[in-house]
Symmetry: C2
Subunit: 206 residues, 2 copies
């Protein structure tokens, strides 16, 4: 005999389907939300979800999530409009913004090339990115896809497409190397190898 009522089970299943939430966490969240103290929280989570689904759309220029017609970054005239940083997700964009090291514009792919999941250049809005580059005024495209096989493939594909259509645009990729604040001794060999290969002159101008 099932102990859990159907609505409770349905809610547990809905939480379990979220990334990073296992069966026990889902159960814990649901019991928390349905006990006295959690009811108001459940209602406000429900309405926050509904509101976000209704209001939030993709910026027509950079594809990030936003509520206004253009996202605040695309609408900001003070940004360096000749640079486009290409990232996989809005979360990646957030990390780069928080680094305070970049003042240009963005393009959010919404994923990376993954033939096994049927995700190719078409699904990632490459055409929209290329149109932006072809329109002119772009001097540099900084590719900030992840350093995985799929992220590398995506970066390679973008770099090749831009080189073919607009060879004068500089295409760069984030530097790989030893992370800040980390002991060399405890760094994995692949990272150390990459840092050795990408070594540069000290006191370089850049």
């Amino acid at each position: 005999m099932p102990v859990l009522s159907p609505s409770v089970q349905r809610l547990i299943d809905a939480f379990r389907a979220l990334p990073g939430i296992g069966p026990l966490s889902a159960q814990r969240i649901v019991f928390h939300l349905l006990m006295e103290d959690g009811r108001a929280q459940a209602a406000s989570l429900s309405s926050a979800l509904q509101e976000a689904v209704e209001k939030v759309h993709h910026c027509p220029v950079c594809n990030t999530l936003c509520e206004s017609e253009l996202c605040p970054i695309c609408a900001d005239e003070s940004r360096e409009r000749d640079k486009i940083c290409v990232v996989e997700t809005p979360a990646d964009q957030l990390v780069i913004e928080n680094s305070l090291a970049y003042r240009g514009l963005y393009f959010i792919l919404g994923g990376r090339i993954s033939p096994i999941d049927d995700i190719g250049p078409e699904q990632l809005g490459f055409r929209k990115l290329l149109e932006r580059v072809e329109k002119g005024g772009v001097k540099e495209v900084i590719i900030a896809t992840s350093f995985t096989a799929q992220g590398d493939a995506t970066a390679h594909f973008i770099a090749r497409a831009i080189a073919r259509h607009r060879p004068e645009v500089r295409v760069t990729r984030l530097a790989r190397g030893i992370p800040s604040g980390v002991e060399l001794e405890y760094t994995d060999v692949a990272t150390v190898a990459q840092a050795v290969i990408s070594r540069h002159e000290t006191f370089s101008s850049e």
Copy 2:
């Protein structure tokens, strides 16, 4: 300048407030839900929340979460109605049900005594539990609160109250000892100490 739109930020905050979800997990969940693939999932989570908040209430007898007038266990005439197992949460009840070792009824406290959080016997529905015991017909109350300082205090309080009102009712607590399938060598000393203290004759009748 905030990169995230207000509805997105509000949704991230709502997820962060859930037990066991940190800032990065909340962000990951929200970006997942608002990208193309997740929209349907967001809507169904929102409606599952709303439905559960509307339909699910506490069983008037045992206090567990249910949709019907009585919960399925309290309504089931085949359960051993002279036993009440007292647990802290519906999740604890679920674990005991899944053990298949218990066929009696339940009482869900909804927490444990915690003076620091202003949770005393009043908040935990002790009166309702005592009323059930005083009505008669109950032969045993099995206390299954957690083995923490607060859980122990709660167990002690319940045992004393029942002994005062209905001394003929047997009050028991779950056994403490070595978990199943665990090597003695890797068991913590507190658990081993408890198992030594609670040792019993082999081939005992129980």
